[in-house]
Amino acid sequence: MMKTLCLIGLVVVPVAIQAQHQNMGDHKEHNHKDRTNEGEITVDRGRFVKNDSSGLVAVVSVQGMVCDFCARGIEKTFSKDKHIEKIDVDLASGKIVLAYASGTTIDRADIQTKILNNGLNTTDIQIIGN
């Protein structure tokens, strides 16, 4: 019985979530380039639509972020910070983009600690004014 449920889950769950993902639209349509001192990074505007606030954006370069499943903790960790409005992860460039609420002072040490708590290393943090 349990094996049957596992088999059904194995087939149904990925299909369902992939269909849901497609219904949300093609992310590539929303991709835009932002420039940091290191060069261009891709920010998914479909996920990264800011409110009307004009807070700062932190672009965090990390090492070890090779897996989507493992990077999920980053989103969960930073989403607990009430000063962060939006989070985006770019696996290809190894960058995490954090959009802060207006008037928030960015604590670089706190970012580094949260990244380390996810098993990754921070190599650079760039702050972009909005």
């Binding site: 094996k3 088999l7 090779v66 499943f69």
Partner: protein, 199 residues
């Protein structure tokens, strides 16, 4: 016979778990099913160096249950821009059979395209000691972006001193978001299905 049942449960215990240490404060729930056992394993990561967990296995043949407590320690991690390498020490002790326990050394190296992992596991109980080692290699046929469905096509080979036979079989791993599913098949051991959710 009972000893072999216990040993069998330990041997077939989930080795498929990806990243046995999660993010700090993270929980992981894994359900595993194969021809011999049903298994459910929960672990919590209080620190980025270790995780603690509870495991409950039920033998499908004898219908016996084997709860156990587990600890996984990160011995070494090397992060680079394009890869991560980990070395873990795993241990577990049976709640009902305190003399039944295991130690394992497991490691992996992973980029976005290639995965390689190994495990060497020693199990001990009343009057027996068994050893199992395994090797797993995988390739991602495409590189998905964050949020996409990701796929790994893998091959695993495993040998233990219980039956002294090497089993080599294909493994398919799919994951999206916080959910991961893994399936493998060998004509002798039949299907092994693993579902993992991280929260």
């Amino acid at each position: 016979m009972r000893i072999f049942t216990i040993v069998g449960c330990l041997l077939f215990a989930s080795n498929a778990l990806s990243r046995p240490i999660s993010y700090v404060g993270g929980h992981t729930l894994t359900v595993n099913s194969n021809a011999q056992t049903h298994n459910i394993y929960w672990h919590f990561t209080p620190d980025n160096k270790y995780s603690i967990g509870l495991d409950y296995q039920k033998d499908r043949i004898s219908n016996n249950a084997f709860p156990s407590a587990r600890l996984t320690v990160l011995l070494n991690r090397k992060n680079t821009t394009n890869s991560q390498r980990n070395l873990y020490l795993k241990t577990g002790v049976g709640a009902q059979h305190g003399s039944t326990y295991f130690f394992a050394l497991a490691g992996d190296w992973e980029s976005r395209r290639i995965f390689a992992g190994f495990s060497a596991k020693q199990m001990s109980g009343s009057g027996y000691t068994l050893f199992e080692h395994s090797l797993k290699l995988g390739v991602a046929p495409y590189l998905g972006n964050y949020g996409d469905m990701h796929t790994w096509v893998m091959i695993e080979t495993k040998k233990n001193t219980l039956n002294d036979q090497r089993l080599t079989y294909p493994v398919l791993r799919l994951f999206k978001g916080c959910a991961l599913a893994e399936a493998s098949y060998h004509k002798k051991s039949d299907w092994n299905i693993n579902l993992t959710y991280r929260f």
